[in-house]
């Protein structure tokens, strides 16, 4: 008997650590040496089949690591079932940033969220600044999953997502479309107040279609 699940996954981490590259490797099995920095957030889906014919469909939000999008993150993680927090093993500052994200998730996200800490760019091991021991120890202390990957070679990428798929509470109701998503949204970002902004300029030049 096959079971289907659907989960929301969010990727967080400093700009340029390789979040989009990891997702692209996972979803399309591709890699670009030059990727444009993500704007806002990008949505992708991918399904993983586990050994026992269980399928897990991930709805992935790949967020922008640039500082100016920082305030948008709650919108993505507030309903997420799992989060992959990425750092770059060649940049110790990116692990610091990852720690900040993890603290924020622990405080603000769903208490049952599954968090994976992911050290990317293992193909650049010669320039390694973050040791496996250090990251692993931190992950253990915080009760996080931990893995190293290379989006470039593909090493470890499917394994991370598969491990998350296995770890997610598979006892949850099958095809649980809302997942934890039916919750109220305290972190919802407020857009502009449209009622206050009725003075659209240049009415005369506006399109009349």
């Amino acid at each position: 008997m096959s079971k289907q699940y659907q989960f929301k996954l969010v990727l967080l981490g400093e700009s340029a650590v390789g979040k989009s590259s990891l997702v692209l490797r996972f979803v399309k099995d591709q890699f670009d040496d030059y990727r444009e920095s993500t704007i806002g957030a990008a949505f992708l889906t991918q399904t993983v089949t586990l050994d026992d014919q269980t399928t897990v469909k991930f709805e992935i939000w790949d967020t922008a690591g640039q500082e100016r999008y920082k305030s948008l993150a709650p919108m993505y993680y507030r309903n997420a079932n799992c989060a992959v927090v990425v750092y770059d093993i060649t940049q110790s500052s990116s692990l610091e940033k990852a720690r900040t994200w993890i603290r924020e998730l622990q405080r603000q996200a769903d208490p049952n969220i599954v968090i994976a800490l992911c050290g990317n760019k293992t193909d650049l091991a010669a320039r390694r600044q973050v040791s496996q021991e250090e990251a692993k120890k931190y992950a253990e202390e915080e009760g996080l999953m931990w893995a190293e990957t290379s989006a470039k070679t593909g090493e470890g990428v499917t394994e991370v997502f598969t491990a998350i798929a296995k770890k997610l509470p598979l006892t949850a109701s099958p095809a649980a479309r809302p997942g934890a998503g039916a919750r109220a949204s305290p972190g919802a970002r407020q857009g502009v107040d449209l009622n206050k902004q009725t003075t659209a300029q240049g009415q005369n030049e506006a399109c009349n279609c």
Partner: protein, 409 residues
């Protein structure tokens, strides 16, 4: 570079001190044009020979694109705190919006004429698509819904009380087109964007879905004609169709679900396939030959009431970049003259220019503006006849060329 900026700053401040506005400096072949939008200054050095008003429009668009990323009030606040702030820090990762705009500006006739360029489409198909895209339910979440094909608008749906400025549409179109969005391989993006003519000091959210997954098209019931598309002489490339939904509030789950639902409906009722087919079979384009006016080389027709333009594809010789640039510069010169944009004493109704390569006419009336180019061998009287013939043709084709009566909600 640093010294260039130093000279620019010195020039600008001399004029500011005199309480004067520095607009441009002519230096031989080149012209240096300034646009002051404090706290930012824009400078362009150009030797294309386009009218000054055109360069200013380009600089203005650059400014609008920057505002779309950081908003006017953010900019003001930052530069109030630190006058020597390096703007690049705020624009990190957004450079591609500016570079793609710079590429676009030169040839974008919609921007040159401050109007919308719609996709030519059968009236009924456009109508069916639009009806599917009218927001239902929590319409407060929705501000504008727009379906586009490679920079051209298929339909645009807006609330009854709110029109949309063409400049905001151009900024949105450029945003979607820039590689950080269009190359992302994602099925959708959710981005904060400031539409400067709508509200220069706040963000709205844009949910952008790319309707490029083949399964959507293949899964529709009558797929028998897919082969004929592939066999045709046209390239069997998937056209990039995007659905853009602008939301003023942050309820993004709602917006996402609504957009996904709308896309599914478009796929199921076959309109997505019909649209793709029209594009691939090039029914969404037309050549100047179809207009059937001897000697006619090219034209731009602007419907002033709809604020929309239409023009045929750029064919030989204008498929060559230099020739195309020359023609567009000619159009821009006519546009400048009939709108008296460069301090001419009064606008002209008609402006005729004859060069070695073509004769061109700009003509403005209450309902339209027309810019046409014909063979330079034809007499001046021929161009008037050609202009009238183009106007008649456009009138006849109007229902396909322009977006009219788009639903409002």
């Amino acid at each position: 570079m640093a010294s260039t900026i130093g000279i620019m700053q010195a020039l600008i401040s001399i004029f500011i001190d005199d309480g004067d506005k520095l607009r441009c400096i002519n230096a031989g072949q080149a012209r240096i044009t300034f646009l002051l939008r404090p706290p930012l200054y824009y400078v362009c050095v150009s030797s294309w020979g386009e009218p000054e008003s055109v360069t200013r429009t380009h600089l203005e668009y650059l400014h609008l694109q920057i505002l779309s990323i950081v908003t006017a009030s953010q900019l003001r606040r930052i530069f109030e705190r630190r006058t020597n702030f390096d703007l690049r820090r705020l624009l990190d990762g957004a450079e591609s919006f500016l570079t793609s705009l710079l590429d676009e500006l030169e040839f974008d006739l919609g921007i040159s004429t401050s109007s919308l360029h719609c996709l030519k489409l059968e009236l009924n198909l456009r109508k069916r698509i639009a009806e599917t895209l009218v927001p239902t339910g929590k319409t407060k979440e929705m501000l504008y819904v727009m379906l586009t094909v490679e920079g051209r608008v298929v339909t645009l749906i807006r609330p009854r009380k709110r029109s949309i400025h063409p400049a905001d549409i151009h900024i949105l179109l450029n945003t979607i087109k820039s590689p950080s969005i269009s190359n992302s391989q994602a099925s959708a993006s959710w981005i904060p964007v400031c539409l400067p003519k709508f509200n220069p000091s706040g963000f709205v959210n844009a949910y952008i879905s790319f309707l490029r997954d083949e399964p959507i098209i293949d899964s529709s019931p009558s797929s028998s004609s897919t082969d004929s598309i592939k066999d045709g002489a046209t390239e069997a490339r998937e056209p990039s169709i995007s659905l853009i939904c602008i939301s003023g509030t942050g309820d993004f789950d709602y917006v996402k679900d609504w957009c996904e639902g709308a896309i599914k409906k478009l796929a199921v009722d076959g309109s997505l396939r019909a649209l793709t087919k029209s594009i691939l079979s090039q029914q969404t384009e037309y050549t100047v030959a179809e207009v059937g006016v001897p000697g006619l080389r090219h034209f731009i027709y602007k419907s002033r009431s709809q604020v929309q333009i239409t023009f045929p594809v750029f064919e030989d010789p204008y498929n060559n970049t230099n020739e195309k640039r020359r023609l567009i510069t000619l159009y821009q010169t006519l546009h400048d003259a009939i709108h008296a944009k460069s301090g001419q004493s009064e606008p002209l109704k008609l402006q005729y220019i004859r060069t070695d390569t073509e004769s061109a006419l700009g003509w403005i009336t209450q309902p339209f503006e027309l810019y046409i180019a014909i063979s330079p061998l034809l007499p001046k009287s021929a161009i008037i006849g050609a202009a009238n013939a183009v106007v008649r043709w456009v009138k006849k084709e109007e229902s396909r060329l322009f977006l009219r009566d788009a639903p409002i909600f």
